[in-house]
């Protein structure tokens, strides 16, 4: 009988990566199923460009497998993968800036689900566009909180800044987004 990997803990799944070929494949697929949406969202929001974000997403999982070690204790796979994705995205962004290029502004818009309202889909698009107006630190903190559902403390740990700084960044970022959408709110009220 096939094992039900969906019940495995993250540490158990990580351990499968060092087993037989079939165990490794099954473990990786389960890890991918659990984390890919968040990593994908992070890369798209940070890099904007679909090509660059796709590359970063692909490279994140390649580096994850490359860095896998049986000596490592894995307790928070999503945070570990986002940390890798963050490094990859930062490197790609630096490389782009060094070349004096402007990132191709091609925003990713999630397709509205059948059960979602049109308003939510529209507002999600506008928010994605407004994200570009934010300073990099505020934008990244907001993406980690709003799209990755990370706590302020987790974000502070990841970005290596005090939690009060993260709190300020996120509050300022959200207020700026709201102000940027002023016309939308006016139309919405009508």
């Amino acid at each position: 009988m096939a094992a039900d990997y969906s019940t495995y803990t993250e540490a158990e799944l990580y351990a499968l990566l060092f087993g037989s070929k079939s165990e490794k494949d099954a473990g990786f697929q389960e890890i991918y199923d659990r984390t890919s949406s968040r990593i994908f969202m992070y890369c798209r929001k940070i890099l904007g460009s679909s090509h660059a974000a796709d590359d970063a997403f692909q490279e994140t999982y390649a580096l994850f497998l490359k860095s896998a070690s049986p000596d490592k204790e894995m307790t928070n796979l999503p945070a570990f993968l986002i940390r890798i994705a963050r490094n990859v995205c930062l490197r790609m962004r630096q490389r782009t800036q060094q070349h004096g290029e402007v990132m191709f502004s091609e925003h990713f818009f999630a397709a509205p689900a059948e059960t979602s309202s049109m308003e939510q889909a529209e507002l999600a698009k506008l928010l994605t566009m407004a994200l570009d107006m934010l300073p990099d630190d505020q934008r990244e903190a907001l993406i980690l909180q709003a799209y990755e559902d990370m706590s302020y403390q987790e974000i502070a740990d990841m970005m290596n800044v005090p939690m009060t700084t993260v709190r300020n960044w996120i509050v300022r970022a959200k207020r700026k987004l709201r102000e940027a959408l002023e016309q939308y709110w006016l139309d919405y009220r009508k």
């Binding site: 969202m41 090509h51 959200k174």
Partner: protein, 416 residues
């Protein structure tokens, strides 16, 4: 920390689950008495729901998951014989846009050529001037036909073949008979009659027409009515006349070669990236393409082309770096046209090209699709339509990759 935040700031902390109990009390007290703050709370809540909505609907596309699983060794790489699992799917996805465009173009061309073409029937008075009446129409009797075959020294099946060839020449010769008695001015394929008698026999008297009609349908023989209908069709088609194309229904004859060369120079105009899914990189009149075609028959032309097109690619290959490269490409071109495809005075065409290109040490494959209308103006042709060019190359990190660019085109052609 409450002193650092306004009540409005506290709304966001609260909705993020990061406000302590004292901050919550402060916020709710302010909310109770401030309508503007209530409004901001409502809007902040809408924003949070929009974030959650997008978070729940995000999912990496299949092609990207395929790439990750190929890297992980779970799916085979998209090269080699064993790549059919993931590689074929990946390739099909990348080919979907150009193939879909081609199919769409074919459907549009079909409708343009077959359904939207205006009737080319001339007014009765005009037709009467151009087409000789039945009584004055040159006809040929079966006996004359046989006499002609015998004098040309053909018999049996060879005779049938010969008759077909001569009939073709006569069809076209209907027009020339009116201005010249010299049948030898007809185009290739015509066999000169051996004697003046036979030459005269071709212009037979009207009283033989009934006999002639009775033979209609006999293999290799074309009746007077059929030839008149064919001539009317030719006269009614200004495009065929201008290009001196033989306009005879293919059901009557088997040959319709025109031996035309043409040269086309087209500029890529306004980008239509929004029309063709997946296409990118707007550029206005920055791309150019030239084509030399040999017209095999009324419907088919073959030749080669050269284009210089800038593509929106930013990628590394094993041999170099591609940064918005301008690709010079040599292509083998096939063009499909139709002599009776008239729309607003123009002629529909669909051309396909395939060829290689090099940039930064990288060899790339290029596929080209052009769809449009060509309008004869004096000795030139004005070409309009749109072009879709696909580029395939081997990316260092992504394997087989593609970029699609689509543009309106505007250009000039010359026939000789």
């Amino acid at each position: 920390m409450t002193e650092n935040f306004t009540p409005a700031d506290l709304i966001y902390l609260y909705l993020d689950g990061e406000a302590d109990s004292m901050q919550q009390t402060t916020m709710f007290a302010a909310l109770a008495s401030d309508p503007d703050l209530q409004q901001e709370f409502s809007e902040a809540l809408s924003m949070r729901r929009a974030f959650e909505f997008e978070r729940s609907s995000a999912k990496p596309p299949l092609y990207l998951s395929t790439r990750v699983f190929q890297d992980a060794g779970i799916l085979p790489k998209a090269v080699g014989v064993g790549a059919l699992g993931g590689g074929l799917w990946l390739w099909l996805r990348k080919a979907a846009v150009p193939v879909g465009t081609l199919l769409l173009g074919s459907v549009v061309t079909f409708f343009a050529m077959n359904l939207l073409s205006p009737s080319r029937t001339l007014p009765t008075t005009q037709r009467a001037e151009q087409i000789p009446s039945a009584s004055s129409q040159p006809t040929i009797s079966s006996s004359t036909q046989q006499a002609y075959d015998q004098s040309a020294g053909t018999t049996g099946s060879a005779a049938t073949s010969h008759v077909r060839s001569v009939s073709y020449v006569r069809d076209r010769g209907l027009h020339e008979l009116r201005t010249s008695d010299n049948h030898q001015s007809a185009s290739s394929g015509y066999v000169s009659p051996p004697s003046a008698t036979n030459q005269n026999a071709l212009n037979v008297s009207p009283q033989n027409s009934t006999e002639n009609d009775a033979l209609d349908g006999t293999e290799g023989f074309i009746s007077r009515q059929t030839r008149i209908a064919s001539a009317q069709a030719y006269e009614a088609n200004p495009y065929a006349r201008k290009l001196d194309m033989v306009y005879v229904p293919l059901s009557n004859i088997n040959v319709g070669k025109t031996s035309d060369f043409s040269v086309q120079i087209n500029m890529a105009g306004a980008n239509i990236a929004g029309v063709v899914p997946g296409s990118t990189n707007p550029s206005f009149l920055s791309d150019i393409a030239g084509t030399v075609l040999y017209q095999i028959d009324e419907k088919n032309a073959l030749g080669f082309g050269m284009s210089s097109v800038r593509h929106n690619i930013s990628d590394n290959t094993n041999n170099g770096s591609l940064q918005n490269p301008r690709l010079t490409t040599w292509t083998v071109e096939y063009q499909r046209i139709s002599a009776d495809a008239l729309l607003l005075g123009g002629q529909g065409y669909l051309s396909l090209g395939v060829g290689p290109s090099w940039n930064s040490g990288t060899m790339m494959g290029v596929g080209d699709v052009n769809l449009g209308l060509s309008f004869p103006i004096a000795f030139l042709r004005l070409n309009t339509g749109f072009n879709v060019q696909s580029v395939w190359y081997q990316s260092q990190s992504n394997g087989l990759s593609t970029n699609v660019k689509s543009s309106f085109i505007l250009g000039l052609g010359y026939n000789w």
